[in-house]
Amino acid sequence: MSQTLERSPEAPRSSETKRSREPLLDRMPQWIALVLVGGGGLLVWQLIVSLELVSRILLPGPPETFGEIINSALGIVQGDYVFEALWITTQEVVLGFIAAAAVGFVLGVVVGETRFGQKAIMPYLVGFNALPKVAFAPVFAAWLGFGINSKIIMALFIAFFPVIVDTAAGLASVDRDAVMLFRSVGASRWQTLVKLKLPNALPFIFAGLKTAAVFSVVGAVVGEYLGGGNGLGELIRLSAQQLRLDRVFALIFYLSLIGLALFGLMSWLERRFVFWRKPELLDITTVA
């Protein structure tokens, strides 16, 4: 088999010759580039603080902020109130995310797979998506109280739409000939869905789940800002009122870790289940 596994031996060489023509910045390994940009950012931050362009109270410098991050870390390890808040917010985010994933997936399949869903449900969903969803936070607080339930619903509310859209788009992305092939071997609609369309939609579904992972943090925090409780959002709000911005930044750091962890878990699952597709570098942009 001469045409077996066509991996051209020319490929690495040609990319090397191309490399040496690229500027130094493009040639360096990624980790150095990352450190360079990150360090640059910190430097600018420190300069702004050192030159007192902004009052130290409003913008604590990197050392103060990192000090506070470590401080909080010690507290979290010892199980103090930061730990409590982190745990509450994590529950809100995770449960909201799971609910968003479930609702989004089911509605996505209905909308993507049935003409009725496409004609009668999708227009409402699109209209819904145009609503300023954040404005509903007080409504959920009024309905469900100041506990975690109102935040879970808020996270669900903000995060489920991308899952619907991506699931439906994934189902629609199926190759027409593949559908014909399934019909030609007598596949039922259910078989076509389960053995062809859903596996084919997996990359899209995971893209939606990654967006939902980030959105559910937004939902939970907005829920906390506007609906009280004992989560990280409430702590951040209080710290900001006390002008303890080093704390605010430290808490936001931990808040981001929840979203990043969820996002990372989705990326890991995607690599496991969508093994036939090379991970795309562009995926990183969805974190932002």
Binding site: M1, Q3, T4, L5, E6, D175, D177, A178, M180, L181, F182, R183, S184, V185, G186, A187, Q191, K195, L196, P199, N200, V274, F275, W276, R277
Partner: protein, 271 residues
């Protein structure tokens, strides 16, 4: 005029052994676009015959093939396969498209077993595993059972698609430009391979192509279609000895048939 020509072709075909697949006055209109895609098509394919169809793009070749496969209803007329009218997808039809349409999350072997799995369930597929392996071996894909499609070249992917089509032992093969996406060298190679497979099984095949040499190389008979609405404008018997080799394609007798098909095709284009 057109119907006369196609009737003439049918009479030639009816002369010899039994028809396995027959299109009788098949027409197709797409009402949504108010488009008449096929004028009455009459076509007979004998058992063991390899018929190729050639015609300008958009003249309705794929539409006709889908109707013959029972994937699309005819507006008028009917298709008869093995004595029974085709009213939907049939187990005795094997089909193949321009793209291999392999499922990337399944290994080559699992792709080959897909039709069995869908028709008879996962357990039946498992018990047929050895047969599927043998089909893969027969097209030179030994030890490729566990390889995933993204590791296969275009030609190899189409070989797997051939295996998937053969594994259910269909009595007729319907091929829609199966090698149209391959480079010319691979394509020649695949044509030889396909000829060998069809000879070995005495297969009956109907293949759509837009390459004249390919149409002539494989065919016992080339059917020429003209456009708008699609109808059969000519049929040309190809009486070259088998097995045919790529060498033969440079010979005068081959070139003569190619030129003949091309002239008919041009005529079709002028209308």
């Amino acid at each position: 005029m057109t119907t006369e020509v196609s009737r003439l072709g049918s009479e030639i075909a009816a002369g010899s052994s039994k028809d396995l697949l027959r299109a009788e006055g098949v027409t197709k209109t797409f009402p949504a676009r108010d488009l008449r895609a096929l004028d009455p098509i009459d076509l007979r394919i004998r058992s063991g015959e390899f018929v190729t169809m050639i015609g300008p793009s958009g003249c309705g070749k794929s539409t006709l093939l889908k109707i013959m496969a029972g994937l699309l209803p005819a507006t008028d007329g009917r298709v008869v396969l093995d004595g029974r009218p085709v009213v939907g997808p049939r187990t005795d039809v094997g089909i193949m498209f321009q793209q291999a349409t392999l499922l990337p999350w399944r290994t080559a072997l699992e792709n080959v077993m897909l039709p069995i799995e869908i028709r008879h369930g996962a357990r039946a597929a498992k018990s047929m595993r050895q047969d599927a392996v043998e089909v893969l071996n027969s097209v030179g894909l030994d030890e490729f059972e566990k390889v995933y499609p993204h590791e296969l070249s275009g030609g190899m992917a189409q070989r797997v698609a051939i295996c998937r089509m053969l594994v259910t032992q269909p009595s007729v093969l319907l091929l829609d430009e199966p090698f149209g996406a391959l480079d010319e060298l691979t394509r020649d190679h695949m044509n030889e391979e396909l000829q060998r497979i069809c000879e070995a099984r005495n297969a009956t095949a109907f293949m759509v192509t837009h390459s004249i040499p390919e149409a002539v190389f494989l065919a016992d008979r080339v059917v020429v279609m003209s456009a708008r609405p699609g109808c059969i404008s000519d049929e040309i018997e190809v009486k070259l000895a088998r097995p045919r080799t790529l060498d033969m394609t440079t010979r005068e007798e081959f070139g003569k048939i190619v030129r003949k098909v091309r002239s008919k095709l041009d005529l079709g284009g002028q209308r």
